[in-house]
C-alpha cells in the first residue's frame, strides 16, 4: 500500500501536522497513524464522499457558467486542524481577555472617551472610523454587552505562536460551517476520530440561545423572551447560516419586511396578528438597519428600529456601532486597550502592525512596501490586499500613492509565513496555509466554542484564505484534556 505522506513537502513556516523531521506532532499522532494506514486513493475516495454529502445537503452557492447555473459547494478538506488542549486553553483565555477589553473600549468610546484623553488612541483614528455611530453615544446596552458574538482570526506565526490577525465583531459568520464540517467528517471519516478525544461543537446553538435570552430587555421574563434572527434575505451569501441557526435555536428567521415598529416596540407580522419581539440577532449591517436612522434607500431595514433599541424595548446583538472595535486601524491599539482597561498583558499578541495614519508608521511603511502586506482598513474578505513580496514595482508605486492619498485607510504588516496543514488536492497531499476563527459568545460571561472555522488557502503559494478569494475550509478538532489531569 502506498504511503499517503510520501512526497509531501512542507512550506516555509510551521506545519500543523508534522515536525520538520517529518514525524507527526503529538496532537496529530493518533490521527496520523489512522490516516497513514489508508492509501492516497482511499483518502481521495473519502474526500469525494464528503463532497457529495455537502452537495446533497445543499450547502452550496450558485455560480454562472456558460449561461447555466451551477451549484458549487464551498471547498472542504477532510484533513482537520487539530489543536492540543494546552494551546487551546491559551486561545480560550486570550479571547476572553480580548473580548472583555473590546467591550470596555466600546463602552468608553460611547461614554467618557477616556482612551482619547489619556492618549491610548489618537482621536482622529477613533472619530475617523466609518463605523463610529453617534446614536450610540450615552446609550447603555443591556448587561453592558456590545460584542455578543465575536469571531477573531488567528494564525500561527513562523515561531509557532498563535497570534490575532484581526477581530470580527460586527456580524462574524462561518459558525454553521464549523458545525456542518464536523457532521460531514463524522459521516465521511468516522474511523479517523480518536474516540472521545475531540471536543464536541454541536451545542453552540444552545449557548447562543441562552446568551440571547440573557441579554433580553429589562422586564421581560426569560421564558417569554421572543428571539429572532434578522437576515437581509436569501440572496445573502451567509443565508444558509441564518436558516441553520434559526432552525437549530428554534427561533423565527425574519426579514426587515416582517417587522414593524409601533410605539417604540418591535413586532413581527404573523398569521395570528402582531407578536412582540424582544431580542434581535441581527445579521444585517448597521447601515441597512433602519431607513429612518441610516440609509434612506435601504429596503432591508425596519423603520423605527434604532429608536426602539435606544428606548431599551428591544436588544440588538451585536450592538449598533461596534464596528469601531474591529476597524483595521483600531486593531493596532487593542493590545494597549488590554493594558489600559484591564491592567493585564495580552495573552494573545497582535501581528506587528503599521498604521499609515501615524506619521512615523507611514514613513516606515512606504520605505518597506516590498516586504509588507498592505490592507485597506475599510475592506474585508481579502479585497484590496497587496502582498508586497509578490507585487510588481508598478503595483507598489501605485499602492504608495494610494496610501499617501488617504493614510487613515491603510495598515501594513510584515508578510507572515503562517502555518500550513496537509490538504488533499488533485489526488495528493499538499501543504496549504490556514487560519483559525474561533467564536466567542458574551452575555454575563464569555464562552468560547471549543473548535472554530479553519480556512485554508487552496491556491499554491497563496496567503489569502478568504472564501471569496478561492479559500476552502476544514474541521477543527480541539483536543480534550488528557483524562489523568481531569480532576
Amino acid at each position: 500500500m502506498s504511503d499517503p505522506f510520501s512526497g509531501y513537502e512542507q512550506l516555509a513556516g510551521p506545519d500543523e501536522m508534522f515536525a520538520p523531521d517529518g514525524s507527526p506532532h503529538p496532537a496529530y499522532a493518533a490521527f496520523a497513524e489512522r490516516l497513514g494506514a489508508w492509501s492516497i486513493e482511499h483518502i481521495d475516495g473519502r474526500q469525494r464522499r464528503s463532497e457529495m454529502d455537502l452537495l446533497a445537503s445543499g450547502i452550496t452557492f450558485t455560480v454562472y457558467q456558460d449561461e447555466a447555473e451551477v451549484d458549487r459547494i464551498f471547498p472542504f478538506s477532510i484533513i482537520p486542524r487539530i489543536v492540543a488542549h494546552d494551546e487551546w486553553r491559551t486561545i480560550e483565555t486570550g479571547l476572553q481577555q480580548r473580548v472583555k477589553a473590546l467591550n470596555a473600549f466600546l463602552h468608553d468610546v460611547y461614554h467618557d472617551q477616556r482612551c482619547v484623553t489619556d492618549g491610548v488612541i489618537p482621536g482622529q483614528v477613533l472619530f475617523g472610523a466609518a463605523a463610529f455611530n453617534l446614536r450610540m453615544v450615552g446609550f447603555e446596552p443591556p448587561q453592558g454587552v456590545y460584542t455578543h458574538i465575536a469571531g477573531s482570526d488567528l494564525i500561527r506565526d513562523q515561531h509557532g505562536e498563535f497570534r490575532i490577525l484581526e477581530d470580527n465583531v460586527r456580524t462574524p459568520s462561518g459558525v454553521s460551517y464549523v458545525l456542518e464540517n464536523r457532521r460531514t467528517m463524522l459521516e465521511a471519516v468516522p474511523e479517523l476520530f480518536p474516540e472521545g478525544a475531540v471536543s464536541p461543537v454541536t451545542d453552540y446553538p444552545e449557548h447562543l440561545l441562552e446568551m440571547l435570552i440573557e441579554v433580553r430587555p429589562e422586564g421581560v421574563a426569560a421564558e417569554e423572551a421572543r428571539i429572532v434572527i434578522l437576515t437581509p434575505g436569501s440572496f445573502n451569501s451567509a443565508y444558509f447560516e441564518h436558516t441553520f441557526l434559526a432552525q437549530q435555536m428554534g427561533v423565527d428567521l425574519v426579514e426587515g419586511r416582517d417587522l414593524i415598529v409601533h410605539d417604540q416596540t418591535v413586532y413581527l407580522r404573523a398569521t395570528t396578528g402582531l407578536e412582540r419581539v424582544d431580542v434581535i440577532y441581527k445579521r444585517v449591517d448597521d447601515d441597512f438597519l433602519d431607513p429612518l436612522a441610516f440609509r434612506p434607500d435601504s429596503v432591508l431595514g425596519v423603520a423605527g428600529l434604532a429608536d426602539a433599541y435606544r428606548a431599551g424595548k428591544v436588544t440588538l446583538a451585536n450592538a449598533m456601532g461596534v464596528g469601531v472595535a474591529d476597524d483595521k486601524v483600531v486593531y493596532r491599539f487593542v493590545p494597549d486597550f488590554i493594558r489600559y482597561y484591564l491592567g493585564e498583558e495580552p495573552i494573545l499578541r497582535n501581528i506587528d502592525t503599521l498604521a499609515a495614519v501615524l506619521p512615523e508608521d507611514l514613513e516606515e511603511m512606504c520605505a518597506n512596501l516590498d516586504q509588507l502586506v498592505v490592507k485597506p482598513a475599510g475592506e474585508s474578505g481579502g479585497y484590496g490586499l497587496v502582498v508586497g513580496p509578490q507585487a510588481s514595482a508598478a503595483e507598489l508605486r501605485a499602492t504608495e500613492e494610494r496610501i499617501r492619498d488617504n493614510p487613515r485607510n491603510w495598515i501594513a504588516q510584515p508578510l507572515q509565513e503562517f502555518s500550513s496543514i496537509p490538504t488533499l488536492l488533485d489526488g495528493a497531499l499538499r501543504a496549504r496555509r490556514a487560519d483559525l476563527r474561533p467564536f466567542a459568545l458574551t452575555g454575563a460571561d464569555t464562552w468560547v466554542l471549543p473548535g472554530g472555522l479553519t480556512r485554508v488557502a487552496l491556491v499554491e503559494g497563496s496567503y489569502v484564505v478568504n472564501s471569496s478569494q478561492g479559500g476552502g475550509s476544514k474541521d477543527t478538532w480541539v483536543l480534550r484534556p488528557p483524562r489523568a489531569s481531569e480532576e
Binding site: A56, S57, G58, T243, D258, L268, T272, G273
Partner: protein
C-alpha cells in the same frame, strides 16, 4: 407563524404539485404520441398538455424560430418557457432554500436532490425516447417522496397546513385544466364523439390525472366524455377530483388559520363554503347542460379568487396593533 413564511409554504406546495403534474402529463402525451406515431393524435396529445400548462402559445412562437424544438423539451427542460418543469422546480427550490429552517432535513434534501437531477439533465428530447419515461418517473417519485416526508418528518403545525393548501389548490386547478384541454383544444367534430380517437383521448385524460384505475374501479361500462368529466369534478373518493381537493383545501385552511382573527379568515372561508356547496350539487346532467368547458372556466376563475383573497386577507395583510 410569520405571514411571509406561511405564504412561502403555500407556494412551495403549489409549485411542487405543479412539477408533478407536468411530469405526469408529459409522460402520458409521450406514450400517446409514440403509440399513434405520426398520425394526427401525435401533435394533439402535446397540444393538450401545452394548453393545460399555459405554454401552447409560447410554444408556437418558439417553434417558429426553432423548427427542431420539440414540445417535450419546451415543456420539461426549457429555460425560455416560464411554465416549464425546470423553471417551476427552480422556483420551488429557491423557496425551499428560503424556508429551510421550516423544513426537515429530509424534505429539504429531497427537494434539492430532484433539483440537482433535473439540472444535470442536459439531453434535449429531440432524440430521446428512452430517457423521457425515466426522467418523468424520477421527478414524479421525487415529488411523491417530498409529500410523504412532509407528512412524516415535519411538525404538524399550521405550516404544514399552509403547504397542503397550496398542494390542493394547485391540484384542483391542474385537474380542471386537464379536462378542459381535452374539450377545448382537442374539440372533436360531432361525428368523432364516441369514436375510437375520442375514447382513446379520454383514456389519456384519465391517465393524465392518475385516474384511470380509479375510474375502472368505480365505473362499469363505457368511457364517455361526460362520465370521465363528472368523476374528475365530483368523485368524492378520488384524491384528485375538484370536489375532493376543494374540501381538503378547506379543511387545511381551517386548521392553518385556527388562531387567525376571524375578520381576516371570513373572506376565504365564505368563498370556500360556497365552492364546496356548488360542487356538491354537480352531476353528469348538470355538467352537460352547462358545458364542461364553461364549467371549468368558471371553476378556475373562482380558484383565482380564493388565491387572491388568501393573499389579501391572510398573507399580505398588515395587522393592526392590538
Amino acid at each position: 407563524m410569520l405571514s411571509r413564511v406561511a405564504e412561502n409554504l403555500y407556494w412551495l406546495g403549489r409549485d411542487l404539485e405543479r412539477v408533478e403534474n407536468i411530469a405526469r402529463m408529459a409522460e402520458v402525451s409521450h406514450t400517446v404520441s409514440v403509440e399513434s406515431g405520426g398520425v394526427d393524435g401525435d401533435q394533439h396529445a402535446w397540444d393538450a398538455v401545452l394548453a393545460a400548462t399555459g405554454s401552447l402559445g409560447l410554444y408556437n412562437e418558439a417553434h417558429k424560430d426553432d423548427p427542431q424544438l420539440t414540445p417535450a423539451e419546451f415543456l420539461l427542460l426549457s429555460s425560455a418557457n416560464p411554465n416549464s418543469l425546470r423553471r417551476t422546480l427552480v422556483v420551488a427550490r429557491a423557496l425551499a432554500r428560503e424556508l429551510r429552517e421550516q423544513l426537515s432535513r429530509e424534505v429539504w434534501e429531497e427537494i434539492n436532490r430532484i433539483y440537482l437531477d433535473v439540472h444535470a439533465t442536459r439531453t434535449d428530447f429531440r432524440d430521446f425516447r428512452d430517457g423521457m419515461h425515466a426522467f418523468c418517473d424520477q421527478v414524479r417519485s421525487g415529488v411523491a417522496s417530498i409529500l410523504g416526508l412532509f407528512d412524516n418528518t415535519v411538525l404538524m403545525d399550521e405550516g404544514r397546513d399552509w403547504f397542503r393548501c397550496g398542494v390542493y389548490l394547485e391540484r384542483a386547478d391542474m385537474t380542471s385544466r386537464i379536462v378542459d384541454a381535452k374539450y377545448f383544444v382537442l374539440l372533436p367534430s360531432a361525428q368523432d364523439i364516441g369514436g375510437a380517437l375520442d375514447r382513446s383521448q379520454w383514456v389519456a385524460v384519465l391517465r393524465s390525472a392518475s385516474a384511470w384505475q380509479a375510474f375502472r374501479m368505480t365505473h362499469r361500462g363505457a368511457i364517455t366524455g361526460p362520465r370521465v368529466a363528472t368523476m374528475l369534478v365530483r368523485g368524492e373518493q378520488f384524491p384528485r377530483s375538484l370536489y375532493f381537493c376543494v374540501r381538503a383545501f378547506r379543511r387545511h385552511f381551517e386548521a392553518a388559520s385556527d388562531r387567525t382573527p376571524a375578520g381576516q379568515t371570513i373572506h376565504v372561508a365564505r368563498e370556500l363554503a360556497l365552492l364546496d356547496l356548488d360542487l356538491a350539487s354537480v352531476d353528469e346532467a348538470a355538467l352537460v347542460r352547462q358545458g364542461v368547458h364553461e364549467f371549468m372556466d368558471g371553476f378556475q376563475a373562482r380558484l383565482i379568487d380564493v388565491d387572491r383573497l388568501l393573499h389579501e386577507h391572510i398573507f399580505r395583510v398588515l395587522p393592526s396593533v392590538a
